[in-house]
C-alpha cells in the first residue's frame, strides 16, 4: 500500500516506541496501552528490553487488532515513535509503507524514505519549556508522545485519563503531572499537525474486551501460589522469573498476614543461589509445607542435583521455570521454550518429571494451584514451564476465578492414622498406583519417623543395595509417573476434519490460533492439539493416528517436544510427526507457523 492510497484500517495496527533503556518510557507505553484498551479495543503489547539498566536500545510493540490476536505480529510498525538516535536509521527502515513516524526533530532525515509520513517533534525543547519538574522531566518527556499518538489516531481524552489513572492507581498525586505532559503532545499535534492522517485509526468498539483485564503471567502465577496454599517460597533473582516472587511478596503482604497477630503466613526467602533456593523448598516440602521456587534456565541447571534428590526420595516441590533464550547466559531478556527436554529428565540417573505447560495468563494462575496439588498427590517435583513472553508481557485475560476446590494434600499419615494401623513403610506401594504414604516430621507417634536418604532404600526406607529392591523401587516410580499421566491437565483439541494436525504448547498457542485463521483464509484447514502437560496425555496417539501429518510447533532450535513425542507415540506413528521451530529470541509470530506449513504442504501461493 502506498502512502497516497487511503483505505481506512480501523483498530488494526502495530505501534512501536523505540527508546533508550532507562529513559522511563515504560509507563508512557503502558498509559497508551491502557488508554487503547479502555476504548474496548483488543491490545497485545510486547516489551523488547535489553539485559541492561541504562543505555541500550529497547522497543515496545503494541499490537492492536479487532480480532484480539495476542501474538507478536513482527517488527514492522504502522506508527513509530523514534527516540533512540542509535537505532533511528534502522527503526525508520522498519516502518510499514504509509506509516507514521514521530521523531526528535534534530535527527537527520537525509536518507529518508518517501513512502512514510514524518512528524518531527522537538521533544527536548518541549520538555525543557513545558515540563516544570526537574526530577520528573526525563520520564514525563515520554508522555508527550502519548499525546501526539493520541492526536494522530484520535484517541479520546477520557481514554488517556483512564490510562493514566489505572497506571498510577496507587499514586493519584502523579495523575496531573502526567496529564499535563500528555497535553503538551496534544497541543503540539493541534498546532503543527492538525488534519494530517494515515490509513490507520482507532475507534471505540465493544464486545471484544468485556470482562477482560491486563495481567502478566508472573503476576497470575504468584496469585496462583497464594490461592494454591504455598507457604514457603525460596528464590534467587533472575530475569525473567524475579517478578513472580516479587509479586508473591506484594500479594503476601496483603493476603498472608494474620490480622490479629501480624504474623506472616508465608515465608518468601531470597536464597544465596538456586541450589539453596530449591534446597529450602525441598526441606519445606519434606516437612509438609507447600513449597516452591521460581527461576529460569541457568537456575534450572543448578537445580539438577536437588531435583534428582526430590524425585528419588519423593518430596513434593513446585519449580517455576520462566524460560529465556539459552544456552548459558544466552539472551537473558528474550523468550524461548528451550528448557523442556532438560527439565523433563532433570538430574542424573533415570529421572522423569511432571511438567505443566501454561499457554496463557489464566493457566499460569490455575496451573500454579494445580502444581501444588499434583506435587502433594504424587510426592515429586512438578515443573511449571512458562516463558518470558508469557511471564513478563501484559496479556488480555478474563478475570481470574476464585478456586472451587480444597487443597489435595495427598497421602499423608497423621498420628490418628498411625494409631489405627502403624504397619506402614515409607516406600511401599499399598494402593498399586505407585504412590506411597508419608509422614511428616513432628508427627507425635513413635512409629511416625523414618529416614529419608538419597541412597538406595527399601519399602521401609532402610538403606539397601539389594538389586531387586533397587530395580523394584525404580519400577514403582514409573508406575507413579504413569498414574500421573492420566490426571495431568488434558490437552485442548480442536478438530475441523483436516488430515493435517498441529501440536503446540505454552505461549506458542497464540501464534497457532492466529495461523489457523490465516490458513483458513487461504483455504487450508488444520486440526489442533494443545498440550498442557508432559508426560503427554493418552489422547496423543489417537490424534496422531487420525492425521496424515502432524506438525509440532515450538520455540526452540532442536524441536524438543517433537523429539519427546516421537518417543511417546507408537513407533509406526512417529514418522507422521514433523517439526516447526522458531528460535530467534522474539515471541513466535503467526507467520512463523503459516509460512513453513504452506511450504511443507506445498500450497500454491
Amino acid at each position: 500500500m502506498g502512502a497516497g492510497i487511503v483505505e481506512a484500517k480501523v483498530n488494526d495496527l502495530t505501534f512501536t516506541a523505540a527508546t533508550v533503556n532507562g529513559s522511563g518510557s515504560q509507563s508512557a507505553n503502558l498509559v497508551l496501552t491502557r488508554a487503547v484498551f479502555s476504548m474496548g479495543i483488543p491490545v497485545a503489547p510486547k516489551n523488547v528490553f535489553p539485559s541492561n539498566i541504562e543505555g541500550l536500545p529497547t522497543w515496545y510493540h503494541l499490537r492492536v487488532s479487532p480480532e484480539g490476536y495476542q501474538c507478536r505480529q513482527g517488527e514492522n510498525p504502522d506508527v513509530l515513535v523514534a527516540l533512540n538516535p542509535s537505532t533511528w536509521a534502522a527503526d525508520l527502515r522498519s516502518l510499514q509503507p504509509g506509516g507514521a513516524v514521530f521523531y526528535e526533530e534534530a535527527y537527520s532525515t537525509l536518507d529518508a524514505r518517501s513512502d512514510v509520513e514524518y512528524f518531527p517533534v522537538p521533544f527536548s525543547k518541549l520538555a525543557k519549556s513545558r515540563i516544570q519538574s526537574d526530577a520528573l522531566r526525563k520520564q514525563l518527556t515520554n508522555l508527550i508522545y502519548v499525546g501526539l499518538v493520541a492526536g494522530l489516531l484520535e484517541i479520546p481524552y477520557a481514554a488517556l485519563e483512564q490510562g493514566i489513572q489505572h497506571q498510577f492507581q496507587t499514586k493519584p498525586k502523579a495523575w496531573q503531572a502526567n496529564l499535563d505532559a500528555v497535553q503538551v503532545g496534544i497541543d503540539y499535534w493541534n498546532e503543527h499537525f492538525a488534519g494530517r492522517q494515515i490509513a490507520h485509526k482507532l475507534e471505540a468498539m465493544s464486545g471484544k474486551t468485556d470482562g477482560l483485564v491486563l495481567l502478566d503471567g508472573n503476576q497470575a502465577a504468584a496469585l496462583g501460589c497464594v490461592m494454591g496454599g504455598c507457604t514457603v517460597a525460596a528464590w534467587y533473582p533472575i530475569t525473567p522469573s524475579s517478578s513472580l516472587c516479587e509479586n508473591l511478596i506484594t500479594y503476601s503482604d496483603r493476603f498472608r498476614v494474620d490480622p490479629e497477630t501480624g504474623e506472616k503466613r508465608i515465608a518468601v526467602v531470597q536464597a544465596e543461589d538456586e541450589l539453596a533456593a530449591l534446597g529450602m523448598a525441598i526441606g519445606a516440602g519434606w516437612a509438609g509445607a507447600r513449597a516452591m521456587t521460581s527461576t529460569s534456565g541457568p537456575g534450572i541447571s543448578l537445580m539438577a542435583e536437588f531435583t534428582g534428590l526430590a524425585y528419588y526420595v519423593e518430596i513434593p516441590v513446585v519449580i517455576f521455570d520462566i524460560q529465556r533464550a539459552g544456552p548459558s547466559t544466552g539472551l537473558p531478556t528474550r523468550t524461548a521454550q528451550g528448557d523442556v527436554a532438560f527439565a523433563y529428565s532433570l538430574s542424573h540417573g533415570d529421572t522423569r518429571h511432571l511438567l505443566l505447560l501454561p499457554a496463557n495468563v489464566e493457566e499460569c494462575y490455575e496451573m500454579a494451584q494445580t502444581a501444588f496439588d499434583l506435587a502433594d498427590r504424587f510426592q515429586t517435583p512438578v515443573f511449571v514451564l512458562s516463558d518470558l513472553d508469557l511471564g513478563m508481557n501484559l496479556w488480555m485475560t478474563p478475570k481470574l476465578q476464585y478456586p472451587q476446590r480444597p487443597f489435595d494434600r495427598g497421602k499423608v499419615l497423621s498420628k490418628e492414622d498411625l494409631e489405627r494401623s502403624a504397619d506402614w513403610g515409607r516406600y511401599r506401594d499399598v494402593d498399586g498406583d505407585g504412590i506411597a504414604y508419608r509422614t511428616l516430621p513432628g508427627t507425635d507417634h513413635p512409629l511416625a519417623g523414618y529416614f529419608t536418604r538419597g541412597s538406595g532404600h527399601d519399602g521401609n526406607a532402610r538403606y539397601s543395595e539389594n538389586p531387586e529392591v533397587y530395580a523394584g523401587n525404580l519400577d514403582r516410580l514409573v508406575r507413579k509417573f504413569e498414574s500421573a499421566r492420566k490426571v495431568l491437565p488434558a490437552p485442548e483439541i480442536d478438530l475441523v476434519g483436516s488430515k493435517i494436525g498441529v501440536i503446540a504448547y505454552g505461549s506458542t498457542d497464540h501464534a497457532v490460533v492466529e495461523a489457523r485463521h490465516l490458513l483458513r483464509a487461504r483455504g487450508m484447514e488444520v486440526d489442533y492439539m494443545r498440550l498442557r502437560a508432559l508426560p503427554a496425555s493418552p489422547e496423543l496417539s489417537g490424534f496422531v493416528e487420525a492425521h496424515d501429518r502432524v506438525y509440532v510447533v515450538e520455540q526452540n532450535r532442536d524441536g524438543q517436544v517433537y523429539d519427546i513425542l516421537r518417543l511417546e507415540v507408537p513407533t509406526d506413528l512417529a514418522g507422521r510427526l514433523r517439526s516447526i521451530r522458531h528460535y530467534d529470541g522474539q515471541p513466535i509470530p503467526a507467520e512463523a507457523v503459516t509460512r513453513p506449513l504452506l511450504e511443507l504442504e506445498a500450497v500454491p501461493v
Binding site: T261, E263, R265, I282, A284, A287, A289, K399, L440
Partner: protein, 340 residues
C-alpha cells in the same frame, strides 16, 4: 528409677539408633554416644527432633541415634538449605544438623555461611577430621598447613577454620570440642540444642583409618597433646535447679533463651564468651603456638533467630489450611476489580 528415665519418662535406649557402620574407633561414634546422652538428659521429644545431614561419614551418623525421629540424609554440602526449609515449614521442630569438614567448608561452604548469616534455629555439628574418609583419605579444607597425609603428601594450603569463619559471619553460638571429651562435649551439645539460633559446634573427631598417624594434626595423640580447654562447662537445663556452688570470681554464668543456665569455670583462659573479637584472638594466638583451644567460644542469646526476624506464624506454616491461606472471596473479588 529417676536415674534411668528422663523427664519425658523415656529410657536412654529410646534415643538409640541403628548400629553404626563406621570404622571401630571412629571419633564420630563417640560423638553419637555423647549426643544420645545429651538428647536423653535434655528430654528432647523424639517426634519433634529432625536429624539433618549431607554426604560423608559424618552424614551417615543420624541413622545411629534416635531411631524414632525423622532423618534426612540429603546431598553433599546442602544440608543447611534443607534444614532452613524444614524450619520454615515447622519452626517448632528441633533441627539437628550433622556435617563433616568436607561437607561444611568445601562443597557446602556457601550454604554453611548463609545458614549462619540467617541464624536459622538449628544445631550444626561439624564432625571434623581433616580428611575425606569415604573417598579414602584426601585432605579436606580444615587440614592444617603442613599436616601430613597418610600416604605422605604434605598439605600446602591454609586451613579454613569453621569457628573463626562463623565468628566473622556473626554467628550467635560458636564452640569447639573434641570427640574424646564427653565431659566437655555433652554440656556444649545441650547448650547448642537449647540455643535459639544457629549453634555451630566444631568437634575434632579423629579418623582412625586415614588421619590418625604421626604428622596429622587431627589425630587422637595430637589433639591430646595440643588441646587447651578454656573452661569447664556446666549446663543446667531450665527444668532443673542450680545446685552447684562455685568459688566466687572463678565462674561466668550465662542465662539462655529458654531459661537454662551455662556455668563456665575458667581453666586455661579467662575468656568472656560475649566477646567476639576476643574469641577470634584466642583462636588465632593459640593456633600460632600450635595450640587448639576448645570450649564455648562465643554466645549471643539476644540475637533474633531467622523466623522471629521474619515474623513468621508461630503455628507451623505447614499446618495452615485454606481458610488461613486463601483470602476471602470478597477480598479476592475486590482485588480483581482493581485490575481493570
Amino acid at each position: 528409677m529417676s536415674a534411668t528415665l528422663n523427664r519425658l519418662g523415656l529410657v536412654r535406649d529410646a534415643y538409640k539408633g541403628a548400629a553404626t557402620t563406621l570404622c571401630a574407633g571412629c571419633g564420630h561414634n563417640s560423638i553419637t554416644n555423647h549426643l544420645i546422652k545429651a538428647l536423653f538428659e535434655l528430654g528432647i521429644e523424639p517426634s519433634r527432633l529432625a536429624k539433618m545431614s549431607g554426604i560423608g561419614c559424618s552424614s551417615k551418623t543420624p541413622a545411629y541415634f534416635v531411631e524414632q525421629a525423622h532423618g534426612f540424609n540429603g546431598v553433599h554440602g546442602r544440608m543447611p538449605s534443607l534444614t532452613t526449609g524444614a524450619h520454615l515449614a515447622d519452626r517448632q521442630l528441633v533441627l539437628l544438623g550433622i556435617s563433616g569438614d568436607g561437607d561444611t567448608v568445601s562443597i557446602g561452604l556457601g550454604q554453611y555461611m548463609h545458614l549462619i548469616r540467617r541464624n536459622v534455629d538449628c544445631t550444626y555439628i561439624i564432625e571434623d577430621n581433616g580428611t575425606y574418609g569415604l573417598t579414602k583419605g584426601q585432605f579436606s579444607a580444615t587440614a592444617d598447613l603442613g599436616s601430613v597425609q597418610k600416604r605422605g603428601s604434605v598439605n600446602e594450603f591454609q586451613p579454613i577454620d569453621p569457628c573463626l569463619l562463623g565468628l566473622t559471619l556473626g554467628a550467635s553460638f560458636v564452640a569447639r570440642s573434641f570427640s574424646g571429651d564427653g565431659k566437655q562435649l555433652v554440656p556444649l551439645l545441650k547448650a547448642a540444642l537449647a540455643h535459639q539460633g544457629t549453634a555451630v559446634l566444631d568437634v575434632i573427631s579423629p579418623c582412625v583409618t586415614f588421619n590418625d598417624h604421626e604428622g596429622s594434626t587431627k589425630s587422637y595423640a595430637y589433639v591430646k597433646d595440643h588441646e587447651s580447654i578454656i573452661q569447664d562447662v556446666s549446663f543446667i537445663p531450665y527444668f532443673e535447679e542450680i545446685t552447684v556452688d562455685y568459688e566466687p570470681g572463678t565462674t561466668r554464668e550465662v542465662q539462655m533463651h529458654d531459661g537454662s543456665h551455662l556455668v563456665l569455670k575458667k581453666l586455661a583462659e579467662d575468656h568472656d564468651p560475649g566477646d567476639r573479637l576476643g574469641a577470634m584472638r584466642l583462636i588465632e594466638e593459640n593456633r600460632d603456638k600450635g595450640v587448639l583451644v576448645t570450649g564455648l567460644l562465643y554466645l549471643d542469646e539476644a540475637m533474633s533467630d531467622f523466623s522471629s526476624r521474619e515474623g513468621l506464624s508461630r503455628t507451623p506454616l505447614r499446618d495452615l489450611g485454606e481458610s488461613e491461606l486463601r483470602p476471602s472471596r470478597d477480598e479476592f473479588e475486590k482485588f480483581m476489580g482493581e485490575l481493570g
